[in-house]
């Protein structure tokens, strides 16, 4: 077994942090470690947390992690994704600010900030692999906090077993929530900052919407829960809903089906990338440039350009 993979499996947090960096940078060391870690994945409950900026996603995740640790969960993992600047590639990762000192010191919690590094869809390209590393290291559940909602739907839906959508009263909740398609991806809806006056109204609105259209799973009615994450109010109820959804997925075989579908998508994506790279390496640069320029001069159509390139370097050649 790869020595780094072994150290990760043995609970070495330093090794875990380093392997996460390698996996994030897609280095050969990271691939080698993940190669050996992958067989130990598939156990963790992956929980996506999404919602508009300011709804309190980070605070809610911190409160949930703390609650689960108090309830005896051995290891809780958190991945928090924030956007990279499209201009400089830099990122300001501020989700740790919401971590209370008890959590920051807790050896049973591993928190990692990730920059989106140009990926759209609310996650980074390496988020799925980072989840696999934490899974193999025994972290369960693993919370994945996305870049603010609106565009995050597809990626987190594919990755997570359970999606929590966090709203806050007065955050443009009326039409925004519906427009963003948020109800279509939520297994659990949380109205955070429920000590604010409009909380009950926001909850009713969400419940009315749920009655009009089903959520992502016809056999599961998403609960709408009120929390004040800063004080811990409502957190046990969210934890109970998470557990109920996990039990539902296990009982209905949806857990395996989701897992199977995700891994198929992962395979096809990796295959596309590998085939592209291999094909691209076989096309003479001059040929590629000539066809590209012909397209850019609008002498040929994109489809024709593809035909010419495939003739010049047949993919099965």
């Amino acid at each position: 077994m790869n020595p780094w993979a072994q150290r990760v499996r043995q609970g070495d947090r330093r090794a875990l942090a380093r392997v996460l960096t390698w996996v994030e940078n897609d280095t050969p060391e990271g691939q080698a470690a993940l190669h050996d870690l992958f067989t130990a994945t598939g156990r963790a409950h992956i929980v996506g947390v999404t919602g508009p900026p300011g709804a309190g996603k980070s605070t809610l995740v911190a409160a949930l992690a703390r609650h689960l640790r108090e309830r005896g969960h051995a290891r809780v993992g958190i991945l928090a994704v924030d956007p990279s600047s499209p201009y400089t590639g830099g990122a300001l990762l501020g989700d740790r600010v919401r971590m209370p000192p008890e959590l920051a010191r807790d050896p049973g919690v591993f928190f990692r900030s990730m920059a989106s590094r140009g990926a759209t869809g609310g996650l980074a390209r390496a988020t799925e692999r980072a989840v696999q590393v934490l899974d193999a290291a025994g972290y369960d559940p693993i919370f994945v906090e996305t870049v603010g909602a609106g565009q995050a739907e597809v990626a987190i839906m594919r990755l997570a077993h359970t999606v929590i959508v966090v709203q806050a009263p007065g955050l443009g909740d009326d039409i925004q929530a519906i427009k963003a398609g948020i109800l279509e991806i939520a297994h659990i809806l949380v109205v955070n900052k429920a000590d604010r006056p409009d909380a009950a109204r926001t909850r009713r609105l969400l419940e009315d919407m749920l009655r009009l259209g089903p959520g992502p799973d016809p056999d599961w009615t998403p609960p709408v829960l009120l929390t004040v994450a800063t004080t811990g109010q409502g957190i046990p109820e969210v934890a109970a809903a998470l557990e109920a959804h996990r039990a539902h997925l296990r009982a209905s075989r949806a857990w395996q089906q989701r897992d199977a579908a995700r891994l198929q998508a992962t395979l096809e994506e990796a295959l596309r990338a590998a085939l592209w790279q291999r094909w691209r390496a076989r096309v003479p640069q001059d040929t590629y440039n000539a066809v590209l320029r012909a397209l850019q001069r609008r002498e040929i159509s994109p489809a024709e350009a593809v035909q010419r390139l495939l003739q010049a370097a047949p993919p099965d050649g």
Binding site: R13, R14, A17, T21, G90, R96, S113
Partner: protein
């Protein structure tokens, strides 16, 4: 494809002073220099800072200290980092540091000390020189 790997920096404020404007300005400037900056907020203990540096696998820890307690706090942070095997992390200190304390901090193992007027471009350049230029922290975690 980036020719050089991303630099990850932790910006932390140890101690009790509640003023983080300088820390935020530096965090922003390093972000604009293409780095991934993890900001941890106010009132961090040395153990919390070292633990965050471990989990985030940062190349650099930047400490902002305005309280005057740097001669106490900096050795504590360095010790907490060493206790976790993070000897290869570069530590920079910014804040109000009397000139006579600067060589003492450098002797302890601090890489650079910056006063309130330090140009952020210089801080970014120093960090890039350290991480990309000389030592390779990626090779030798304990």
């Amino acid at each position: 494809m980036t020719p050089r790997r991303k630099i990850r920096v932790l910006i932390a404020k140890p101690g009790l002073d509640g003023h983080d404007r300088g820390a935020k300005i530096v965090a922003r400037a390093l972000r604009d220099a293409g780095m991934e900056v993890i900001y941890t907020g106010l009132r961090q203990t040395p153990d919390m800072i070292a633990e965050a540096a471990l989990q985030e696998d940062v190349d650099v820890v930047g400490l902002s200290i305005l309280s005057g307690a740097h001669m106490t706090l900096v050795p504590q942070v360095l010790e907490a980092l060493r206790a976790r095997g993070l000897d290869d992390v570069w530590v920079v200190v910014g804040g109000i540091i009397p000139p006579q304390d600067v060589p003492k901090l450098l002797d302890m193992g601090v890489y650079k000390v910056y006063g309130p007027g330090a140009p952020t471009a210089q801080i970014a350049a120093d960090i890039q020189a350290a991480v990309w230029g000389t030592a390779q922290p990626e090779e030798s975690p304990a």
